[in-house]
Symmetry: C2
């Protein structure tokens, strides 16, 4: 209880400072925000020795805690990764500023002119795990969109994230922006996470960056709205009217390009007509590429596959494993995806326009694709610049969440002494 | 506990039926939705005797409960009001269908074509008080935007709302749409409201329609997102550079056109320069119109005013009462509104473009106006057609909430066997 009270006070004080900073940020000129981001990039390069020393401390601590090699890799910084962080900051600096953009405008018969104009949301909370670069990425996108941000990194990355955060603050200082625009929760105490999740009125939205465990915890506990996806159970459906060469190319890419990202395909649905026409070539391609294929029904007769269990469908492997199943046409695929999907990204392979239109209309995932790899589910690939994550909720933000989706809007109405009848 | 368990089961069963209906509705043709709304309008007129008989039952019950005259008036239906309900249904039928609209689209260097397309949100819960017409208004807007809706009317209007609901269901049946598209909670039990507020996964958003008591309860208890405004504490600021004739016209209209709506002005801020130039004319206009002016500082010297207490600022009177205060220019007005406003609607009266721009930039109310009456804060006046209410939150919906803001979106991505490098 003492912990919770202390954490509550801490988040209250960070939240109030953020709220005050947000008022200033909402009116900050684009040039000042870009200057802050470029100056932060300079600072990351200038202070790389400090950052790497901080990172070494974190790595020691993580090894003592017995973290896995994969976790240690996510935590590790080096010269290349720091260059990448600096480059990312400069790219966000160069993106267009969404704040103040006129989304739409129109005139009314009363003589009123109405504009709908982008504004920042206010205060964003970001809760992440061991990747220290999220400190810079999330801080940059929040600043670009005129929001104050409270960052709560994983306990393993406390020193590394702190050193990067110091660079962000140096950037803010250089540009004359309030330092409370980008704050870090300065404690390993888990109670601070709970306090953030309940900080209604101080934090407007929470964005969790990390695995299913973290996202699930945030989604179930939060009283503050959350932008997130719990899982990316992406499906590829090879329709009977698919072009074989395109289908082979896309299926392999969707599964194997990178297996650990949320846009990686986890389930291949094959139309019985496709099988009749082309045989088991898609399964064999995957097996040859070293993918473990967990096959259902007669597909399990293909040599080299393993037999799927019911749990393999609707499962996010994030590995060189894919579930595979025969379905009866696009309706079979739609029914399967509705039952087992996570509303993230699904792709149909077909040359038939009506079939593609049916797939697009009947499903309601954040992203639906035709003849394209699910690995394109990414803000950069969408042309949005950097993204803070991919959301599968239906309110406010959906799909890749970039600077624009971190904004709200207000109406500006101009009359000439206009009164309502 | 028994009540809560029963209410939970009830909402669970309504929610599941709504969820199933929502899948069908999301793909329903515009013509079917319009047909359902026009048929419902026909039914309201054809069954007006039944509806008025049901309303008479509710009025008897309400009188026994000792409801105020104002409450009885809100509850009362007559021929005119039923015609108004039918007309409203036909107007929504004629509005453009937001579902399937391409919000924006673009091409990527990879060859991908990306469309952002409007989709329904899913299931909407509407919790309202004694006005039985909300049954038709909310049902119509939800249907137009392809959402299923669960309506929970006030216990006083149970029979009237039920009779109108029967007309909506008849419309759905005529159009071959699922009857569960528009459901009513068939009980006076308050536990049903709590169950709706906690129905995450079944209800996507809750919209409360009613007074501050209802909205406050919903906002504090809900685990489901809420579109609402708690109060409309609208300010009018008369700047030193205001045009006198426009200012007099707008101030009177903003306060007195209708005092009971959320867009009615509750506080008049007068620039000291305006007072020096034009005297106390705005105050005298209000007094002459029969408004009680609760004046602060030297404004209280104007004969006929009463002296304001601190509680009069930031107060929603919804009556022929206004608080009035002198401020030092636009910065004084901004500071006052930031402290006392409810982020609903504020209007500046000025001929100076820079001053107006400052007011527009520094405040973040859902609606900011220049030289126009705050009474224009209304979906119809904005040209959005019918509205389900006005929201002051910053996520998803803001300002007047019409059919368009009851939608979400998805991305449709088309390639040609396109894979990610």
């Amino acid at each position: 209880m003492k912990d919770m009270a202390e954490a509550g006070q801490l988040i209250d004080s960070l939240g109030k400072a953020a709220r005050a900073a947000a008022v200033e940020l909402a009116q900050a000129p684009s040039a000042a925000k870009s200057l802050a981001l470029n100056a932060a990039a300079d600072a990351v390069l200038a202070r790389s020795d400090d950052i790497l020393a901080a990172n070494a401390k974190d790595l020691d601590f993580a090894r003592q805690k017995g973290l896995s090699d994969a976790m240690l890799d996510r935590l590790r910084l080096d010269g290349d990764r720091l260059s990448g962080i600096a480059k990312g900051l400069r790219e966000v600096a160069d993106q267009p500023d969404p704040v103040g953009q006129v989304i739409t405008e129109w005139d009314r018969p009363t003589g009123l002119h109405i504009q709908r104009v982008r504004t920042p949301i206010g205060v964003i909370g970001v809760i992440y795990e061991s990747r220290p670069n999220v400190t810079a990425d999330a801080g940059a996108l929040a600043l670009k969109s005129g929001n104050a941000v409270i960052l709560r990194g994983g306990s393993e990355s406390l020193h590394s994230a702190g050193a990067i955060h110091a660079c962000m603050v140096e950037g803010l200082r250089t540009a004359g922006l309030p330092e409370a625009a980008i704050q870090m929760v300065p404690t390993r105490d888990r109670a601070a996470v709970s306090a953030m999740l309940g900080a209604q009125g101080l934090i407007d939205v929470i964005i969790p960056r990390g695995g299913k465990g973290l996202v699930g915890l945030v989604q179930s506990e939060a009283r503050v709205p959350v932008f997130a996806h719990l899982e990316g159970i992406c499906h590829v459906y090879a329709d009977g009217a698919a072009d074989l060469a395109k289908a082979r190319r896309v299926v392999l890419n969707a599964k194997t390009r990178r297996t650990g990202i949320c846009g990686a395909a986890e389930c291949l649905l094959i139309d019985r007509e496709f099988l009749a026409r082309h045989g088991d070539v898609l399964i064999r391609d995957l097996l040859e590429a070293g993918v473990e294929v967990r096959a259902d029904g007669e597909l399990a007769n293909v040599s080299g596959t393993t037999r799927a269990t019911p749990e393999d469908f609707g499962h996010e492997f994030l590995d060189m494993i894919i579930a595979a199943k025969l379905v009866d046409g696009v309706e079979g695929a739609i029914a399967h995806i509705r039952t087992h999907g996570s509303q993230h990204t699904e792709s149909i392979l077909t040359e038939d326009d009506a079939t593609a239109a049916r797939f697009f209309a009947a499903l309601d995932s954040a992203i639906l694709m035709r003849n394209a790899s699910t690995q394109f589910a990414d803000g950069g690939e969408f042309g949005m610049g950097a993204e803070i994550g991919i959301a599968t909720g239906k309110l406010h933000a959906r799909g890749p969440v970039g600077a624009e989706q971190l904004t709200s809007f207000k109406y500006l109405v101009t009359g000439d002494g206009t009164i309502r009848a």
